[in-house]
Chain length 549, copies 2
């Protein structure tokens, strides 16, 4: 692998003026004065309060693991060419017979290069197991091809921890940050207690709008706003949470250029990067296309990487992107493990932050993931595993949208306004469900853009023409809108999804009047096929009831 | 087990006025509005962005584990009654033949009660696996017998994370906290960047001095100090880091009473609680005593608990103690897992903090530790394991002090002044080491109180009569003192230990002039017997050279 690609890339520029008071006040590592002695042969080190590894009650850690090709690399029909065979492929699960064994002993002959519990379960550096760190650096280099040369990787305990370190390292009390107008609430929950204001940037079908971003920044009036112009942008660029939208390369370049112009740091929270499922095709078209397809085998690795939308890092020639990756969607959320890719100055401050909070990710997680991914699968094997995961979520996405299409009368229209360029699926209640059809009832009540990445379908429900809800004393603010009431009606009907108000970029401001239109995040990542069908039925039934009132 | 003991205990009082602005500003859990639906039968929950567990590549996690009695429960001679047989007991390691197997499958028939990867490796509540939480609550009840009834336990990712949550939840920028005059530097590294001032409380051989604490608090002059009276006390009460001192029950009661009087919250960081090794006895006395001992078997569980110094929780009738426990010393540091025991109000705020930073401890660690400790060993078994760990560190403590006694001329004296009541070991350079004995050379240069708990021997080296060191341009502040230079001389000689200046409770203030006396923390927790002997030899040799200058 050539980390330098074929171009000479610049080093990151000095962005130290973005560090928060807290980040600046963090000391150097207290171990610094000891470092120069630590490697010396024959040194007796009695400086640390470390237990003897003999006393770890785990003599080995072992696991039964799935093979890299447990899931097919592409969501095609292959061996069972019936129109529904892909459902079997999805819901029959992996071949349970074909498993492998991995084992991590406590002691090994080469503890630097072999994973071992005496090291992994001991106190360690906040940088984690060195071979894992090297692997992650290679991964970031190959998948993201950062535009600056001195990018650094650092493990964290998942993107929630990662983002929390970014917030505390870059923002002071009363600072502000830019977010997508619908955004991930946990990311805000890290920042709000610090008194951070959010400034939401309108989106269209391609994600955050550069024109809107520029307008916000160039017309910033500190007196009017009551706080300084933002210096940090939080974004989930691929399979966005909650909207499911994906920001492509042209859009990323445009946003990056604005961030350079206004000196903005980009926090790229990208857990769904691998789940780039591609365009949704209705069942009949999909079946035709799959029957014609000849690619039954996995793509060559580089070809696979080339099919993926790039990271912001690709265009980052200054080192102003802090990318956060996680193993939550590719291995398991309980790993509590992920990594930063960013400039070395920020990485060092994040490391100091880690030393006084989480330290390193758990040695149980580090040792098992390193042994499986780094030592057993290797990079090519892991990429094959990722292809299988991507294909599985593609099948799930298709199955869920198919189910919605089955329960609603869906019409495909070309989006207008902010949905310009997108194919919008508009759904109305099926005719059979009505005794007498009226214009009001035939009105398309539901619309969505099928996601090309991630885990979420973002539904918009049109409440136009319905009488405004009457507030009941004691109700919470969000329960008194159509958005909130329809959510409650769904929940009472047996379907729990995410209500739009949870995802507002600015807490007290909804991008659309929640009495005229409600927004809902539905996750297709973990339902059975039966559950998807049942969910769609409940949705259609409650929608009909709600709009008949 | 009767959590209520035999007395009716009060509930915790309202201590919400101690919460920091940050803690107050944290929202309620964003999931709150969903809770009432989550348990409903038949509910289709598509609200969370959770991966399907089929896609976790780990089908089972397994481990080879040591039996609960891998180590003898008491550090006695038992089967091999030679004076040195205990060394074999220590350094031959556990019986490698006797191991057990544990296994955690992905799917189980009763996922609420059986540990399973589909749950443990999924996103989960910041409270962790429920059966682990129940176990920890029982553990805290049995070992600490809290004086208030509504104590709550909450997992964290180790005491560094735990303490960090305490600091951010209780202190605002510019606040202050009380610490022991020598203290754990990482605890300060969490607080200093927040602009927190430390106020160090003098110690004697029984730990922090109540008279000194009272004097500080009752004579507090905010104008003179420049900051408000502290509201938080940080303490490592057992096997204190770095001094090795243990604060017993009378002392704890006295300090607790002062904390009630002045409305102080106690942060009890107690990783060495189980390592209560008891009094050190020189080899000849120890051999006699052990030969006479008949207790070859483990103590009954309650008897074992009764031998341990109590936690501050025992006397806490108001809920003002925040106790932090860790698995680092009893299972392994790489667990990155521990727990709070504290009042429910603080626990809830710590949980919210956890939700936006570490979330829950890694599911790999949680599942393996729960399967081993909770499900396989059970409480009685785990306590037997802990007895073995305690016995092992007792042997290590003895071996290290024996080695020091072998290399130095040690005299036992009754401590005076702040060491009143303690037996002090004073060491001078062995006569054979000197060609001509002079008074200066015979002077006892080294003194220490053998620890009754923990992992550390805290050495004081007397530099009196030596010419003051001459500063060399470019040297760091701490390198220019005798304390720093002797540390460097030791490190250059091949022995790395902890220099006193690292452990100052107030960064710029040493409790003793480092040109007159140096302090050093030596850890006996992870050295081979040969390493201990070599370390003692290096120490004696460098001491002789340094004092001959």
């Amino acid at each position: 692998m050539n980390l330098n690609d074929d171009v000479e890339r610049p080093k990151s520029i000095d962005l130290s003026h973005h560090l928060s008071d807290l980040a600046i006040a963090r000391g150097v590592s207290p171990l610094k004065s000891m470092f120069k002695y630590l490697g010396r042969p024959g040194l007796i080190a009695l400086a640390g309060g470390v237990p003897n590894p003999d006393y770890f009650p785990f003599a080995t850690l072992e696991a039964t693991t799935l093979p890299i090709d447990a899931y097919k690399a592409t969501p095609d029909l292959e061996t069972e060419p019936s129109a529904l065979s892909w459902l079997w492929n999805l819901f029959s699960g992996p071949n349970k017979q074909r498993t492998n064994k991995i084992s991590v002993p406590k002691y090994v002959s080469d503890p630097i290069n072999e994973v071992n519990l005496a090291t992994a379960l001991q106190y360690g550096m906040a940088t984690g197991i060195p071979s894992l760190q090297a692997f992650l650096k290679e991964y970031s280099a190959r998948f993201y091809k950062p535009g600056f040369s001195d990018f650094t990787v650092l493990v964290h305990t998942g993107n929630t921890d990662g983002w929390s370190r970014v917030v505390y390292s870059l923002l002071n009390h009363g600072d502000s940050m830019l977010v997508e107008e619908w955004t991930y609430p946990s990311a805000l929950a890290s920042a709000f207690p610090l008194g951070v204001h959010t400034v939401s940037v309108p989106m269209d079908s391609k994600g955050m709008r550069p024109d809107a971003l520029r307008e916000i920044l160039s017309n910033w009036n500190e007196t009017e706003r009551g706080f300084k112009r933002p210096r940090l942008l939080y974004t989930v660029p691929i399979g966005q949470n909650p909207s499911g939208l994906t920001t492509g390369s042209e859009r990323k370049k445009a946003i990056y250029a604005i961030c350079v112009e206004f000196d903005i740091i980009i926090g790229e929270d990208d857990p769904y990067f691998i789940l780039q499922e591609g365009e949704y095709l209705p069942p009949n078209i999909r079946a035709q296309k799959q029957a014609a397809s000849t690619s039954n085998t996995s793509d060559p690795v580089e070809a696979f990487i080339d099919t993926l939308e790039p990271s912001y890092l690709r265009y980052d020639y200054q080192g102003r992107v802090i990318r956060m990756d996680t193993f939550s969607k590719t291995i398991a959320p309980g790993s509590r493990m992920g990594w930063f890719t960013c400039n070395p100055l920020f990485a060092e401050r994040f490391e100091r932050h880690g030393e006084t909070s989480t330290q390193a990710p758990s040695g149980f997680a580090q040792s098992m993931i390193t042994q499986l991914v780094v030592k057993t699968w290797g990079m090519e094997g892991y990429i094959r595993w990722l292809q299988g995961i991507k294909a599985q979520y593609t099948l799930r996405r298709d199955a869920f949208i198919d189910a919605m299409m089955h329960e609603l009368d869906i019409t495909l229209t070309q989006g207008t306004g902010i949905l310009e360029g997108a194919t919008v699926y508009q759904g109305s209640i099926k005719e059979s469900g009505w005794s007498v059809m009226t214009e009001k009832k035939k009105k398309p009540r539901v619309s969505f853009v099928p996601p090309t990445s991630g885990m979420f379908v973002w539904l918009r429900v049109d409440f136009e023409g319905l009488p405004p809800p009457i507030a009941v004393p004691g109700e919470g603010e969000n329960d008194t809108t159509h958005e909130g009431r329809f959510w409650t009606a769904l929940a009472e009907g047996g379907l729990l999804i995410g209500p739009g108000y949870m995802f507002r970029g600015e807490r007290d401001h909804s991008p659309e009047d929640p009495n005229l239109a409600g927004h809902y995040r539905i996750s297709f990542s973990d339902a059975t096929h039966e559950g998807m069908q049942k969910a769609s039925k409940i949705f259609a039934k409650i929608l009909k009831e709600y709009c008949s009132k």
